[in-house]
């Protein structure tokens, strides 16, 4: 694993540099300290550092300080072996590589490293993902959101001991390196940093994050400070002569020392506060645990009451009766002031099924969160980051109660939580709220709306005159593609395939026909009848997993399979924010169950009453799967905002882009 990560991280580094360039190079000292291991390496091999993405590099490193921490720690622990190796290495080039790696690892792998090195944090993340997907794990998700900081904390704690030793090792190695490239500042810095580290370690994650954010926000201030600190600047200038990036880094450590000392006292107090705050999330976590228990109870109750409707194969999914929750919710609405009304509204819409489509669901949720954040006021004696995260967790768990979240919503929530976590501590509440809201708006604009536009642009190039395009169900991206292609004068025919019980295809059909497109409508059983005349299949997606599995509306797999059998290319249109690093092999393990009554009620038919009368027979069950997973082999191409890629490239996209998008 370690070895793997090391190399893997390298490409990320570039990305990082790319992304980080935007951010301010002169950052707070904290991150460096936390980085101690890597930082040392970097400092020792100054030239390599400079060589590497330089200023950009630094900035990224600094940007996710919390992550850094854990990452660094993880990296350090992980890299214990690698770090020393490169350091002793006589060739500067080697060293540089190593340092790069370490940097990258630290800065970029945060999630990965967390996952890999720190079990708690990884658990948290995983649970979050899964939780977002599935109602039953909701507690986990809440937990994780709450626990993310915790997880980081734990990590730091755990890693501490090893890291220090490692750090020492590193130092030693660096000292060796020093001899070659002597940089006193670097060496001294780590040493100094190690002391505060211990203290920081406990508090570290939050602080660092806050600091990182601070840096970004308060660049101007920092710059002024840096200027004030002539030494730092001088040194930076000296060391950085070759490259400016160095200066920034070096300056950071120096700054750190004074700042750290001054800030340490503050931080201690802060740490106390933070501990308190930590308690709050922990309480939430417990609450989540309770809720999980409650949910389990509820589930068991449900099982007892409607065991007839439970499908054995899907006992791992929430199988509840629709309509049961609505009265509860409506009664709760007055008692539960914890749920913001906007979120509550979205939740009810989910419950009632008024919202469909992953994008619209996601956007509705984000808008609700925006509103909720706008109306949010930090309670006295509480930290905005922690408290707001807790709030969001509450909202999320409420939403999950209404309907299990889609993968994309899980991703969006993760993004939001990361944004909250990254909020600078010293940001005033209105500022923080404004920045969060703008971040949410940016997410919606960039990741959904703009992405859709890009996808449309890409996909239209695949539509030629005289083609017969088949689409299944309703996908707003596909709709946009078809309409746009029609607008620009392409002559083609559309086959809309639909399936019970939602009959979403009719919605699409209505819109297409209204715009004058030539349409053919049929149901999914007839797909192999119609496939013979189809030249291309366009499918929407709910999510795409990193093994290339397409997770989408149930029936998509059937359509893709038949298209594959008829050698018709299958083009999947999916925004990159829906990509998910999980893997999925079948449609059983993770899915969502819809209302079984929707299947029992057959339109137009006299046997409706049969089904109704048979309803209480325990031998008869109705299974309303919402999603299925299409194997990657059926997918010819995936059109996403990063371009048109094969399904095998999904893990690459997830690794290279998504992390940064979510974490930075």
């Amino acid at each position: 694993m370690d070895a793997r990560r090391g190399p893997l991280a390298v490409p990320k580094v570039r990305r990082v540099g790319f992304f980080t360039s935007i951010e301010p190079s002169p950052d707070s000292p904290r991150p460096n300290r936390s980085l101690s291991g890597p930082a040392e390496a970097i400092t020792t091999s100054s030239s390599p550092l400079s060589d590497s993405p330089s200023g950009q590099f630094i900035s990224p490193v600094q940007i996710p300080p919390l992550r850094h921490r854990s990452d660094n720690l993880a990296a350090a622990s992980r890299a214990a072996a690698p770090v020393p190796v490169p350091v002793p290495g006589p060739s500067a080039f080697r060293r540089q590589l190593a340092s790069d790696r370490a940097l990258h690892v630290g800065s970029y792998n945060p999630v990965d490293s967390l996952l890999g090195t720190s079990p708690p944090s990884s658990n948290g993340e995983v649970s979050e993902d899964s939780g977002s997907l599935f109602g039953f794990q909701r507690s986990d998700s809440a937990k994780l959101s709450a626990s993310f900081p915790n997880g980081g904390f734990d990590m730091t704690m755990r890693v501490r001991a090893p890291q220090e030793s490692e750090a020492k090792v590193v130092i030693a190695s660096t000292s060796d390196g020093r001899k070659k490239n002597v940089e006193p500042s670097g060496t001294s810095e780590p040493v100094a940093a190690t002391k505060p580290r211990k203290e920081k370690e406990q508090k570290s994650l939050k602080e660092k994050t806050s600091k990182a954010e601070r840096r970004a926000i308060q660049e101007a201030q920092r710059a002024a400070k840096a200027a004030a600190k002539g030494e730092g600047s001088k040194r930076a200038g000296e060391s950085s002569r070759a490259k400016p990036s160095k200066t920034a880094k070096q300056t950071q450590p120096k700054k750190d020392v004074p700042q750290v000392t001054s800030s340490l006292s503050e931080k201690r107090t802060v740490s106390v506060e933070k501990e308190r705050r930590m308690d709050v999330p922990q309480a939430q976590m417990q609450y989540d645990d309770k809720s999980r228990v409650d949910k389990a109870k509820r589930r068991s109750v449900v099982e007892q009451t409607e065991s007839k409707n439970k499908v054995e194969l899907f006992l791992h999914l929430p199988q509840y009766e629709r309509g049961n929750q609505l009265p509860n919710l409506s009664s709760n609405i007055f008692t539960l002031d914890t749920i913001h009304h906007a979120v509550y509204k979205v939740g009810l819409q989910h419950l009632a099924g008024d919202l469909s489509g992953d994008n619209s669901r996601c956007i509705a949720m984000l808008h609700a969160f925006q509103e909720a954040i706008n109306d949010y006021t930090t309670p006295p004696m509480k930290d905005l980051t922690m408290d707001l995260t807790g709030k969001i967790n509450g909202y999320v768990s409420f939403l999950i109660e209404c309907r299990p979240l889609s993968m994309s919503m899980g991703n969006a929530i993760r993004f939001l939580k990361n944004q909250i976590r990254k909020l600078p501590v010293d940001l005033s509440e209105p500022e923080a709220k404004a920045s969060l809201c703008s971040e949410i708006g940016r997410f919606i604009d960039e990741k959904i709306i703009l992405a859709d536009k890009v996808i449309v642009q890409h996909a239209v190039t695949k539509i030629r005159d005289g083609e017969v395009l088949l689409t299944y169900g309703f996908s707003c991206v596909v709709e946009m593609i078809l309409l746009y292609a029609h607008e620009i004068g392409r002559k083609f025919r559309v086959v809309v395939v639909d399936s019970r019980p939602n009959l979403e295809g009719q919605k699409l059909l209505r819109r297409l026909v209204a715009r004058g497109l030539d349409c053919t409508y049929t149901h999914i059983n007839a797909v192999s009848y119609i496939m013979g005349e189809v030249t291309r299949v366009f499918l929407g997606a709910s999510s795409i997993f990193s093994n290339g599995t397409l997770y989408s509306k149930v029936g998509t797999a059937c359509v893709a399979m038949v298209a594959n059998a008829f050698s018709v290319p299958v083009i999947v249109c999916c925004e990159a924010y829906k990509f998910h690093e999980r893997v999925l092999l079948d449609s059983i393990c993770s899915n969502e169950l819809g209302d079984p009554d929707a299947i029992a009620n057959v339109p137009l038919r006299t046997n409706t009453k049969h089904a109704k009368t048979m309803d209480n027979n325990k031998n008869l069950q109705f299974l309303n799967l919402m999603y299925d997973s299409t194997p990657a082999e059926y997918i010819s191409m995936i059109v996403t905002d990063y371009g048109m890629i094969p399904p095998t490239s999904i893990p690459v996209i997830v690794r290279e882009y998504r992390r940064e998008d979510l974490l930075l």
Binding site: V513, N525, A526, C558, S587, N607, H610, N619, L620, Q621
Partner: protein
């Protein structure tokens, strides 16, 4: 005769209006109709009796097939009846060759032109020719021999010293033939009616404990098959795909539940999702083609593909009346039938788009609602017919047992 004619017309109308559903019901009705056609058929005295019967059946059969060309069971049954006639004719002829006393004994004489029976009149050569003409597959040689054969009939009759004895002999043969044919047809009816039991008897060999079975649409054969296994104390679970526009799956599920089977109804779109947890797919065929391809309820091809993908056995149950001696060409289209769009869309909503008379030329919206689906033989693991289990590549041979090659083209 007008009675039969009206019956035929009535049945043709029913077929045309698709009033008769299901290949089994169609087959039974067709057989019964043909039986009455045969029994009411007045056999001319001069001609080859068997060929006259065959012609009569063919004429009716052509009407029936034309009335519903997609219902292959009609054609199958007509061919089966023709085959029965030919076989009976042949057996009679060979019997005549072997020992003409038998004819004598069974002779009953109502319309007697001449009571005198010359059993020497029938020459073995004529019998042989008749046998040849009834059973020989169509070939260039038969065509060439066809003209001399027709010539032989008058020749033999003229060669026979007294024509009376000849016709009497013929009529007796006719009686016997008709009697045997009707008996054969009765057997066929019996067979069609009993194919469910025959097939269901084999269920125990194919279904084991705790099996998970997926089926699609509604088929009486499948129902009996599953229930037979259930009666043998096998406990298993059945997933029923609802069979979209007609929702026959709900009917099947209801029946299954009534018989105590654990049944889960799923949407057709979930077939692929569920197939990975299914041990066997069992469907009832609408028709089985000579190449081993299956025509089944719409959606079957999807299930077959999914089953193939997951290496799940795809078993097709088919009574012998569903075995069609034709090789399909583009069966998805040519052997299919499009039903009303109203099953998919409410007319009210899209009526303006569906309207062909809206001046703009072709309508914007078309609704495709096919009835059947074709499964290529490569996707079928096993056929279970009333004569046992067979693989797809063997079907042509099995089918050859039921039909004579002369009737393939009607």
């Amino acid at each position: 005769m007008p009675d039969v004619q009206s019956m035929v017309l009535e049945f043709v109308n029913k077929l045309r209006k698709r009033k008769i559903e299901g290949s089994q019901a169609t087959a039974r009705c067709t057989v019964e109709l043909l039986r009455s056609v045969i029994s009411h058929h007045r056999v001319p005295h001069h001609a080859n009796q068997a060929s006259a019967l065959i012609d009569a059946v063919k004429a009716v059969g052509a009407q029936l097939v034309a009335a519903n060309p997609v219902e292959l069971a009609v054609g199958n049954v007509v061919r089966r009846v023709l085959h029965i006639i030919r076989e009976e004719d042949l057996s009679l002829a060979t019997a005549a060759v072997a020992g003409l006393d038998l004819l004598d004994a069974s002779d009953d004489d109502e319309d007697v032109n001449g009571k005198g029976i010359g059993y020497t009149a029938m020459s073995a050569a004529v019998v042989a020719a008749a046998a040849r003409s009834t059973l020989r597959p169509p070939s260039l040689q038969t065509l060439l021999e066809g003209t001399p054969e027709s010539a032989t009939v008058p020749y033999t009759s003229s060669s026979g010293a007294d024509s009376e004895s000849k016709t009497a002999d013929k009529s007796s043969i006719t009686r016997k033939l008709k009697h045997d044919v009707i008996e054969g047809v009765n057997q066929l009816i019996h067979e069609i009616a009993g194919c469910h039991e025959q097939i269901a008897e084999q269920a125990i060999e194919h279904i084991h404990q705790n099996e998970v079975i997926l089926t699609l649409g509604s088929s009486r054969t499948v129902l009996e098959f599953l229930c037979a296994a259930k009666e043998k104390k096998r406990s298993f679970r059945v997933f029923v795909a609802e069979g979209a526009p007609r929702y026959q799956g709900h009917l099947l599920a209801k029946e299954l539940v009534a018989r105590g089977l654990q049944t889960t109804v799923i949407t057709d779109s979930a077939v692929f999702a569920m197939i990975s947890r299914v041990n066997m797919v069992i469907i009832g065929a609408h028709a089985v083609m000579a190449n081993g391809g299956v025509i089944g309820p719409v959606g079957v091809n999807m299930a077959a593909l999914a089953a193939k993908k997951h290496a799940v056995p795809f078993v097709v149950l088919a009574g012998s009346h569903k075995l069609c001696p034709l090789y399909p060409h583009n069966p998805e289209v040519l052997l299919n039938e499009l039903r009303s769009p109203s099953e998919l869309l409410d007319f009210g909503e899209f009526s303006d788009c569906l309207d062909f008379g809206s001046g703009s030329g072709s309508p914007l919206l078309q609704v495709v609602n096919p009835t059947f689906d074709y499964v290529p033989p490569s996707l079928v693991s096993l056929f279970i017919t009333d004569t046992g289990g067979h693989i797809p590549s063997y079907m042509y041979r099995l089918i050859a047992d039921y039909y004579s090659a002369d009737d393939l083209v009607m």
